[in-house]
C-alpha cells in the first residue's frame, strides 16, 4: 500500500542542512496499522508528511498503491489519505458538522448527502450527532476535538489514514477510552493506518507492527514482542525500557 524506497530527506536551514531521513525503506501492507516511533527529531513526522506530499523526498521514492506519489494527482492523492494532526486541527470558524462535511461539500455532494455522511461519521467516533453537529470547536473537550478530527479524516472514506501524534495531548483516562474506540474502528473499517507517536504503550496497543527511527535512520521493525524480547541494538533496548517505564511522556534516551 505504502512503500518507502531508500528515501532521503534533508532540510536547508539558516545554519546549513539537516538530515531528517536517510536511506529509509519500509513497506506497509494494505489494511495494516503501522506505528512510527522514536525520540523527537528522529524523522518520524517527516516520514508521515512524505506520504501526503506535504514534503517531497530529496532522494529515493515513496509509492502509494504501487505507483510513485508523483504519478498521482495531488488533490486526488490527498483525498485518498485521511490526515489527523495533534489537537485535531479543527477550523475554529466552522461547526463540527461543517468541519467534518467540508471535503464532501467541496467534491460536490448535495446538502442531504453531506448531512447524512456527517451523522454516520459522528456516530462512528461515538459523538451524538444532534448534540455535537452544531457546536464550534471551542465548545469541545480535547478528546472530543480528536474524535471530530478522526471523523473529518474519514469523510471521503479514504483507504489510508495518517495520524500525527493524535492522542498525545489528552489526559490518561480520555486517552484510554479513545484508544479503545480507535482500536475497534481500525478493525471494523480495515484502513491502512500510519500512526506517529512518542508513546510506546500507545504504539504497541494500536499498531500491529512498529518502526523505530533514530536520527533519520530505521533502527528496527517488528511487533511489540520483538521490541520487548529481542531488541536488535543497545539503543533499541534502552529506548524500549525507558519508554515502557514512563509511558505517556517522551522517553529520555541518550544514544
Amino acid at each position: 500500500m505504502i512503500d518507502f524506497v531508500c528515501v532521503g530527506k534533508t532540510y536547508r536551514t539558516g545554519k546549513g542542512t539537516v538530515v531528517a531521513l536517510r536511506e529509509f525503506t519500509l513497506n506497509i501492507g494494505g489494511g495494516e496499522c503501522m506505528g512510527l516511533i522514536g525520540p523527537s527529531g528522529s524523522g518520524k513526522s517527516t516520514a508521515l508528511r512524505l506520504v501526503n506530499r506535504l514534503v517531497d523526498p530529496t532522494s529515493g521514492s515513496v509509492r502509494f498503491e504501487g505507483r510513485d506519489l508523483h504519478s498521482h494527482s495531488l488533490v486526488e492523492l490527498r483525498h485518498k489519505i485521511g490526515y489527523v494532526v495533534q489537537d485535531g486541527g479543527l477550523f475554529p470558524h466552522l461547526t463540527v458538522a461543517e468541519n467534518v462535511g467540508l471535503l464532501c461539500r467541496l467534491v460536490g455532494q448535495t446538502r442531504r448527502e453531506v448531512s447524512r455522511r456527517v451523522s454516520t461519521l459522528l456516530e462512528l467516533v461515538a459523538l451524538e450527532p444532534s448534540e455535537f453537529a452544531p457546536r464550534y470547536p471551542r465548545e469541545l473537550s480535547g478528546g472530543q476535538c480528536q474524535r471530530v478530527g478522526v471523523a473529518r479524516a474519514l469523510a471521503l472514506d479514504p483507504p489510508c489514514v495518517l495520524l500525527d501524534e493524535p492522542f498525545s495531548a489528552l489526559d490518561p483516562l480520555t486517552r484510554d477510552a479513545i484508544h479503545g474506540d480507535f482500536e475497534r474502528l481500525v478493525q471494523t473499517l480495515g484502513k491502512t493506518v500510519l500512526l506517529v507517536t512518542h508513546d510506546l504503550r500507545e504504539a504497541f496497543r494500536l499498531a500491529r507492527r512498529c518502526a523505530l527511527l533514530h536520527a533519520g535512520g530505521l533502527m528496527q521493525v517488528g511487533n511489540a514482542a520483538a521490541f520487548l524480547e529481542h531488541p536488535e541494538t543497545p539503543f533499541v533496548e534502552t529506548f524500549v525500557r525507558e519508554g515502557m517505564r514512563q509511558s505517556g511522556s517522551a522517553p529520555h534516551v541518550t544514544a
Partner: protein
C-alpha cells in the same frame, strides 16, 4: 452560485462583500457618467489661490466676463498655494487666475536675481510666460501686494523697531510666526535672512489666518503679512520698513491661457477695463469688507464694479460663503442644508476612494501571502507613498491627463493613502492564521484557492476589516484637503473660515467632519464584530 460552495462562509458575509463590491463599482462609474453630461457651451474657468484677495480678484474677473460677454464662468476658488493654481492653469484645468509679478518671477520662473523695477518686472514676466508657457498677462489691477513684516504696535514701540534692520538687535528674543509659503520661498524668509543677515532663533510656520490673533494675544511677536491685508485696518500693528528694499514688487494682474483668449478674444477688452482700478488702500478696504462679513465675495465684487460703473445686466448667482455670523449654533443651523450637501460630497469622496482601494488592496495583500518575496518591497513602497505630503500629492496629480482639478484627483489621492492599511492588514491577517490549520487544510486536499476561500480569508476577515476601518477614518480627515483643489467636501468652510478668520465657519466644517469620523469609526467597529467568525471566542 451553486449551493455546494456556500457552506463554510456565512452567506450574509458573502452578501456583505458582494454589496460592497457593487457599491464601489457604482461609485466608481458615477463621476464618469457626470463628466459625460456636460454640454458644449462657451465657458471659461476662473481659479484663485486660497486667500481672500486672490479669490475676490477672481470673482471680479468672473463677474466682468459674465456681465459683458455671453460666456459662462465656472469658479474654482481656493486652489491650494501658488503651485497648485499655476499647475492647474498650465494643464488647462482652469483658464485664468490672478497672479503677482513677484511670485511669478521667483516661484514659477525661478529667477535668482532680485526684481527691483515694477515695470521691467511686469514686462519680463509677461514675455517669459508667453514664450515658455503660452500664458498671457493682461494689464495689472494697479496695486502691489508686497510681503511685509508686522509687529504689535506696543511691542515695536517698546523695542524701538521701525525698520527690518532693527530686528537684528532683537533676533534672539523675538518669536516669529510666518506662513509656510513665506518660510520656504526665496523671496520670503530665506532671501530676507541673507539680505539682512537675519537669523531669528524662534521661527515657526503657521496658518496665516491665525497669525493676527497669535500676534495680538502675544504668542508671537512678528508675522509676515501683505501690504493689502484687510486685517491691517483692524489690528494695532506696525508694518516694518523694508530699508534694504528686499521685497520685490508684487503687482497683481490677471493671467490667462493664451489659447483661451484666442478662442474668446472678447474677454481681453472686458478684463482690461479693470486695469489700474485698484490701489493698495482700496484693495485693503475690499479685503477687510469681505473678512468682516460685510459682504460675500460675490456681493463685494458686485459692489466694487458698481462703484466703478462697470456693472452690466446679468446678476451673478448668490454664494453661501461669508455670512455675518451671530454665533456658532445659529450659523450651524442656517447652514444645515449646505453642510448636508458638503457632508454627502465628503462621504462620496471617501466611499469611492476606500471602495477602490479595497478592490485593489485586498487581492494584492492576498497575492503577497502567496509570494512572500514581494511582501517586503511592496509594503515598503506603499509605506513610502504614505509619507508624501497630501498637498504635494495633489499638485502632482493635477497635470496628469484625466485627473485635473476636482473629484478625480481628490479620490486618487485618498485612494493612494487608503492602500497601505488595507494591504498590510490583509497580509498580516492571513499570515496570522495558525500554521497547523494551514497544514491540516493542505493535507486534507484543499486546493490553494479553496484554502484561501474557506480557511484563511474567513479567519483573516476581522483583521482586513480593521484595515478598511483605519483607511476610512484617515480618509475622512484627509478629504478635508479636497477643498484645495475644488473637490468640495467639509474642507470648504474650514478653508474659507481660515481666510476670513471666522472661527465659527471653521468649526461648521471641522465639527461635522470630526463627528463623521467618529460615527463611521463606530459603525465600522460594529461591522468588524459582525464579520468575526462565530466560532471564535
Amino acid at each position: 452560485m451553486s449551493q455546494r460552495s456556500s457552506l463554510p462562509m456565512r452567506p450574509w458575509v458573502l452578501g456583505l462583500i458582494r454589496a460592497f463590491v457593487i457599491l464601489a463599482a457604482i461609485a466608481t462609474c458615477l463621476p464618469i457618467a457626470w463628466a459625460r453630461t456636460e454640454a458644449p457651451v462657451a465657458k471659461v474657468t476662473i481659479g484663485s489661490k486660497n486667500f481672500t484677495e486672490n479669490r475676490l480678484l477672481a470673482e471680479i474677473m468672473a463677474q466682468m466676463i459674465e456681465a459683458h460677454t455671453s460666456i459662462e464662468v465656472e469658479r474654482r476658488p481656493n486652489l491650494g498655494g501658488s503651485t497648485i493654481a499655476f499647475t492647474a492653469l498650465q494643464s488647462g484645468a482652469i483658464d485664468a487666475y490672478p497672479e503677482y509679478t513677484g511670485t511669478a518671477w521667483s516661484v514659477h520662473l525661478k529667477r535668482q536675481d532680485p526684481l527691483r523695477d515694477p515695470l521691467r518686472g511686469f514686462i519680463e514676466v509677461a514675455r517669459a510666460y508667453e514664450s515658455r508657457y503660452s500664458l498671457t498677462w493682461l494689464a495689472p489691477f494697479g496695486f502691489s501686494n508686497s510681503y511685509a513684516l508686522a509687529m504689535r504696535e506696543s511691542s515695536a514701540r517698546t523695542r524701538g523697531i521701525t525698520r527690518i534692520s532693527d530686528l537684528l538687535r532683537h533676533q534672539d528674543t523675538l518669536r516669529a510666526g510666518v506662513s509656510h509659503e513665506f518660510l520656504n520661498r526665496s523671496d520670503g524668509y530665506p532671501g530676507l535672512a541673507t539680505t539682512y543677515g537675519l537669523n531669528i532663533a524662534d521661527l515657526r510656520g503657521m496658518e496665516h489666518g491665525l497669525a493676527y490673533d497669535a500676534l495680538r494675544d502675544g504668542s508671537v511677536d512678528l508675522i509676515d503679512t501683505w501690504t493689502t491685508d484687510g486685517k491691517l485696518l483692524e489690528y494695532d500693528v506696525r508694518l516694518l520698513e523694508d530699508d534694504a528694499h528686499f521685497f520685490p514688487p508684487y503687482d497683481a494682474a490677471p493671467v490667462f491661457r493664451s489659447d483661451t483668449l484666442a478662442k474668446y478674444p472678447e474677454i481681453v477688452a472686458q478684463i482690461e477695463r479693470l486695469a489700474f482700478r485698484l490701489d493698495e488702500r482700496k484693495m485693503r478696504e475690499l479685503n477687510h469688507r469681505v473678512e468682516q462679513g460685510g459682504g460675500s465675495f460675490a456681493e463685494t465684487a458686485r459692489a466694487f464694479l458698481a462703484e466703478e460703473g462697470l456693472t452690466g445686466g446679468g446678476s451673478p448667482p448668490a454664494t453661501l460663503d461669508s455670512q455675518a455670523s451671530s454665533g456658532f449654533w445659529p450659523l450651524l443651523w442656517s447652514r444645515r442644508g449646505h453642510t448636508l450637501r458638503l457632508s454627502l460630497q465628503h462621504i462620496y469622496l471617501v466611499l469611492v476612494a476606500v471602495g477602490l482601494a479595497t478592490l485593489v488592496a485586498v487581492p494584492a495583500g492576498l497575492l503577497l501571502t502567496r509570494k512572500p518575496v514581494l511582501a517586503g518591497p511592496i509594503l515598503g513602497a506603499a509605506g513610502v507613498v504614505q509619507t508624501i505630503p497630501s498637498l504635494a500629492l495633489l499638485a502632482f496629480l493635477i497635470p496628469i491627463p484625466g485627473f485635473g482639478l476636482g473629484d478625480r484627483s481628490a479620490i486618487a489621492a485618498l485612494f493612494v493613502y487608503a492602500i497601505l492599511p488595507i494591504i498590510r492588514n490583509t497580509y498580516a491577517g492571513v499570515h496570522a492564521v495558525e500554521p497547523g490549520l494551514v497544514d491540516a487544510a493542505r493535507g486534507m486536499g484543499l486546493s490553494e484557492f479553496q484554502m484561501l476561500r474557506h480557511v484563511e480569508l474567513p479567519l483573516a476577515l476581522p483583521t482586513i476589516m480593521a484595515g478598511i476601518r483605519t483607511a476610512t477614518t484617515v480618509s475622512i480627515g484627509v478629504a478635508t484637503l479636497a477643498a484645495f483643489i475644488g473637490a468640495g467636501g467639509l474642507g470648504d468652510p474650514i478653508l474659507t473660515g481660515l481666510q476670513l478668520s471666522d472661527i465659527h465657519l471653521v468649526l461648521s466644517g471641522a465639527l461635522p467632519a470630526a463627528s463623521l469620523a467618529l460615527v463611521v469609526d463606530f459603525a465600522l467597529s460594529r461591522v468588524e464584530g459582525w464579520v468575526k467568525p462565530q466560532g471564535l471566542a
